[in-house]
Symmetry: D2
Subunit: 334 residues, 4 copies
């Protein structure tokens, strides 16, 4: 083994640059040549490889986003696309590829490995933290702190005007971010996709808080939440976002006037936290180690505070379960 390539794919996450840096410098220290691929799998198919040296990754450890960029690539979803990708890699003499991304990116890495024999290693990076076989994914800790900072700002104005605020976080299928941010931010209610939400119950809790003298109510809602509740279903169709729908119900059914904040893409940006930089550094270096050990089609993750490799298949197929103890704790402490 004399070289490897590295790419970032899917939604960007803070710490991706730190992971690329770790892959590059670890590989160089092992005497390997390193190529950066621009724009994810699209760049592989286009043969868009850049040789990277140590100074290529100077000062990127603290930068959000990914300097290698990311993009969707429909062509790579086809066997023909993956065949072409492997050919492009091999035309440069590259047999090893580190893929930094989430579920979708790992499916591609798995198929590429199985169909073409290119060695692939996955490094989990997504703010949603919904990847199995690792306790944390890169970017999650930074997004968590970004949301907490937003909650803190909104609480200022919520208290001043004695209002309820519905804050919508990212998370189409997973509530890790909403739950952790809600618990850490002291939110009065937290709604996650993993748990059915009864709008009646939420409104009753908020009204009870009002009657007991709370001067604000913060409700964290993951974007993928499905709302239910008798009086609610009738006007659901008029609203696309659960946050707006819930806000209307709260204004109608409690004495709080409710407002909505959709946090959106600010959750993806920002300088990575210490945790995300450490995680990215460890996993990036471990990916190189796994390739040197002759492995492929595996993902490196953090399990019981130790770096551990698992089959990519498991990372994709196993469901990562939300810790419902944390959910219970949030209802006790709020």
């Amino acid at each position: 083994m004399s070289n490897l390539a590295v790419l970032t794919s899917g939604g960007d996450a803070p710490g991706m640059n730190a992971a690329v840096r770790a892959v590059v410098r670890k590989a160089l220290s092992e005497g390997l040549e390193v190529f950066g691929v621009q724009r994810g799998y699209a760049g592989v198919i286009d043969g868009d490889f850049i040789k990277l040296n140590s100074s290529s990754v100077s000062d990127v450890i603290g930068q959000g986003g990914t300097f290698l960029r990311s993009a969707r690539c429909d062509e790579f979803r086809t066997p023909a696309g993956r065949k072409k990708a492997a050919e492009k890699l091999r035309s440069k003499g590259i047999e090893n590829l580190v893929v930094i991304g989430g579920d979708g990116s790992f499916t591609g890495a798995k198929l590429l490995s199985e169909e073409t024999g290119i060695n692939t290693i996955g490094v989990p990076a997504t703010i949603d933290n919904d990847i199995a076989c690792t306790h944390d994914s890169i970017g999650y800790d930074t997004a968590l702190n970004t949301i907490i900072d937003a909650i803190s700002k909104i609480r200022d104005t919520a208290s001043s005007h004695e209002r309820a605020f519905v804050i919508e976080t990212m998370g189409r299928h997973a509530g890790f971010l909403a739950l952790a941010a809600g618990l850490a931010g002291g939110a009065e209610s937290i709604l996650v996709p993993e748990r059915k939400t009864d709008v009646d119950e939420v409104c009753q809790t908020i009204q009870k808080d009002y009657e007991e003298g709370k001067i604000h109510s913060i409700i964290l809602v993951a974007e993928g939440v499905e709302l239910e509740g008798q009086r609610f279903e009738t006007n659901r169709e008029m609203n696309e976002s659960p946050a707006f729908a819930l806000s209307k119900e709260i204004s109608d059914r409690t004495e709080f006037e409710a407002r909505v904040t959709i946090l959106g893409h600010i959750q993806r940006g920002g300088a990575p936290t210490g945790r995300d930089r450490l995680l990215a550094s460890r996993l990036g270096a471990a990916a190189v180690d796994r390739l040197l050990a002759g492995e492929s089609n595996v993902m490196v993750g953090l399990v019981n505070s130790q770096v551990q490799a698992s089959p990519i298949k498991d990372a994709i197929e196993q469901e990562k379960e939300l810790d419902m103890d944390l959910y219970e704790l949030s209802t006790i402490l709020s």
Copy 2:
């Protein structure tokens, strides 16, 4: 003069607490008794006065929001409501009132002074910075930095995915925040209510940037912007927010894929910046000075870096003009 009351009114702004602190401690140092009014003019009508001492305002200088709270009050908009308010103040022996807020709050202060003889002093606090007779209003500097921080986070993800982002700031009638934040944040385009926006022109600029190799485009839009342009008008009615409308046009008419972020109420919160604390401290103390000098129906502001009092009438009626030189500068530097 032996006492005064102080209230915060209208939308909350970072630094309101620092202004209350300055009013309280300056008044105490002059031997006056100080009453805090809860929930703005509603609290005056309800006679909701709390005696404040020096430790009532300990550690509030750095807190966002307003611990005196704020609220709308329809009753105070009527002469009868204001008469009642004056009676409640006088029943406590209070003849002097400091009003910390924006345009709407000042209209109330002016009428209260003129109709009932209560001495009122306005202290300008609104993140919009749209109040005349002062260069800055309390809260503007903090909001400016909050928006810049958000732009910086969004730029990370915009560059990673080579996207355009339309970021909507507060500002229904004024573009001060959007212009300053856009210029300081290095936005590619800035849309303000004070200047007619040609959607064709905006899209052409963005497309030109794309062709010249820019890998992202950040467009700052004040919420009060009105869009126009030939191809645009036909579907305007389907969109309520100018940001969403503009985003659709950009995605349709340029090679950038566009996304929207509505910053919303995070712009109102957060620990006040140094500038906002200094401004609030100076204006709060000056309000007490003006009352002691026997003035009423005036607003204290910062003019040419000096504290200066102006008739509230002027602050309300004069239009504060956006500095179009800054606008021109933004087009040169982006």
Copy 3:
């Protein structure tokens, strides 16, 4: 069991308030009465107990420091002092005490339990993270991010002037903070108490970096580091801080001009991060659970991402080892 008391002791750490909040609200939800003790063990001896309810801990989850305050207490180090403390607790009918602090505080909790039969539970909180039987202690994550932020600021000026900067972190006996912050901050060298430091070697590395074109050098030094190296020992006695001593050597023996920054107490303050709030919430609630389960003289900690109780004795006596793999990683990635 009908009640418990809670105190914070030793050096303050961000997240202590979040831990107190969790203890209080969890205990209330279990029907217990809760007393807060002011100023650590001194307050126990003085009988300084305040009844706490749910609103006593409103809005404290995001506040640095400890609203219960902390203090040294020489009297409690004596058997007589601890006897008096137990008497004071029992005079209020209190048999259960949650102690939030570090090593020294836990020694007191252990002796109090063994000598007087008061049930004690330790909750680990110290930015140094040097407590065994838990992967993280409360406050460590926040301090880590504070240091990284400082490194980032200093790198700006270091690069501008092509200088070396020696940054001294807290850590008299342990290098956890310095190592993690140095790795995450991209420091060129990291000096920790756990590993003997050869000043010659450090200077050679820095000079080599200079010759290879690095325009700055950041050296992280834990305050407890002992320096050695032939040319260095002669003038060691003149310097109290390892940072100043090392800085002089670097200026003398490399082409970089060196400067020193002692981060000091800013490392203890600030709003706790998401991680610290979550950890504090979990451990605080777990402390109440352990008391309800009839346990005493144990510490709750996070082991393999799960809450786990260990004898306080183990937490005090076992040495928590620095992960030397991380140290090796730092030399590869810098």
Copy 4:
């Protein structure tokens, strides 16, 4: 006029990059060629000129430090050095130079203009804000907020342990930073070089606060402060820093135990605030305008909120006075 060169000199300040960006893009928009000089005047003498285009300054508006770097240059302090500098500039056909820096840098710019006829324009950038003929200098606002953030962190730990903290800020000859940060940070005492400090009086105030129940005391001290007071002078010689000297006195003479924090170089770094970016953008563009208008040996500054040019001579020789009203205000509000 067909081109210009730009350099940064002296201590770095946040916003220097934003100023360079404004000079570059404004000049390009006027059809001029732009050269960046590396490492201040040393780079001029070495002929170290790099042609800059619009993308040379992409994404630098938010970066601390200066990408053009800065350095001391003894040779430029001699007439021979300046003659050589002018020759190097003219050998490239450059007759115009924008100098971004402080007092020392402006002295060089003035002499260069007078002795060699090179047109020079000064842009004030120093966190100390001690330059006359401008209300603010670039970097001051960012440093102010950095110090306030540090005060806030230290207050957490000061309150927890009921301590006094002496915080030393930059400012060898000027107290602008210490005064503004102290006032905005709610410091109990502020010591500035412009005002003689009586240590007896400071200690008495602190002791009085203690007796009135304050649980902490924050004392801001500019590094250039000279202490006096009868009991103090005897041991002055043992201490180099006024902060350590004062801390010892406070511990000896009040019931507070005192600690010291020297903020040091973190005050120079960090992403510039909105104000600093706007100021830098306006002044950088104005510098190009002044050159195009045929001016030389002037500094552009902000006077009464408007950009204004003044002779460099005035900027250097006039003393910028500290606003003692702010000082008085700080004693009333603390």
